[in-house]
Symmetry: C2
Amino acid sequence: MTRALTRKGEATRARIVAGAAAEIRERGVDDVRLEDVMAHTGTSKGQLFHYFPDGKEELLLAVAQHEADQVLVDQEPMLSNLTSWPAWQAWRDRLVERYLAQGVKCPLNGLLGQTGRRAPGAQAIVTGLMWRWQAAITEGIRQMQSTGDIAPDVDAERASAALLAGIQGGVLLLLSTGKIDHLEAALDLTIERLRASARTA
Amino acid sequence: MTRALTRKGEATRARIVAGAAAEIRERGVDDVRLEDVMAHTGTSKGQLFHYFPDGKEELLLAVAQHEADQVLVDQEPMLSNLTSWPAWQAWRDRLVERYLAQGVKCPLNGLLGQTGRRAPGAQAIVTGLMWRWQAAITEGIRQMQSTGDIAPDVDAERASAALLAGIQGGVLLLLSTGKIDHLEAALDLTIERLRASARTA
DNA sequence: GCAAAAATGGACCTGCAAGTCCAAACCTGC
DNA sequence: GCAGGTTTGGACTTGCAGGTCCATTTTTGC
């Protein structure tokens, strides 16, 4: 089923996805018309349906996957190396910085309940992202436990679940209120709690 | 500017809002057509535009306000009486229960980034909800501080911000993954942290 | 360089859902 | 009971965005 794509074709396809992503960030998921994507990427309707035969649905899914991957890429190399408290702090700072810069323009937000319902695939993409995200945090906690920086009786899965929830909620509140405070508070207090676990142990 | 509404008119208007809310929960915000609302509420298009002259936009805003209010009402009387640890636990249980029952059908989810962008008013509604929600939690923490159940050096604002973030993220993750674990973990660990503050003090 | 396949452009079609309009029914106070 | 309002029903208009189609150009493999 892998369609034959020449180099040029692949480039065009990528350009469409990137352009559509930018347009979505700007206008919001369903205020984006195919016409907008065409204008933004300098493509024609024929091209859009050439690369995405199932139309908008398929394009949106491709954009979602693209953006989901980007979320984790943006956290590297910190996220995969949570091996010391300074490293955790660096990761925390990166998160705050990234979402502060992004501001209200969250491309994945609309894909959640919204597109998630209309496209079963979008749900899977977001779920996969969350899964990978939490797995990385869990791994970080386990590493810290192995060095004794986090108490061994801390449930790594549970703690990472809570931390991820705090992050997601923090971003959500950033989107709705425009303030970064919630994200910072959630990150700082949760991480502080992990640090404290070792001290009291 | 308060339009003249007879008792019958008021009832019809309320019926439309409630019906539209139900329909939105079922289908999702923008997969709902006015026709659906008409069918669900037994009303005609003339009525819709009679009570909501600005059309769908205005109706959606009314629904958003209705649902936002409901979110807080559903947490009462617990939310306003966080005066003991059993009370906190009862509130926590209510939250879990409520969102577990609600499942994927979050009416406000779509209103965030999405409708929030298209309708400036929706943003305000969500912001107001979050503001009131956090204020209630902050008040609860302050009460517990006054009885010595939470250490006085805990920053109530910051702690409630983190807790609210955890809740929002937990619900978000419930929506995307279908699992309640994150909400529970966020609630339990954050509350536990508050309890521990008194013991170490 | 030539045939086959891929890439591109853009005119056209189509369906749908929001919004308009007006006429009929109905209350409501006097 | 009648004159003002409000409420209701539903036919009609309209604009638009997604999708179709095909003709043309470009690339690729040999």
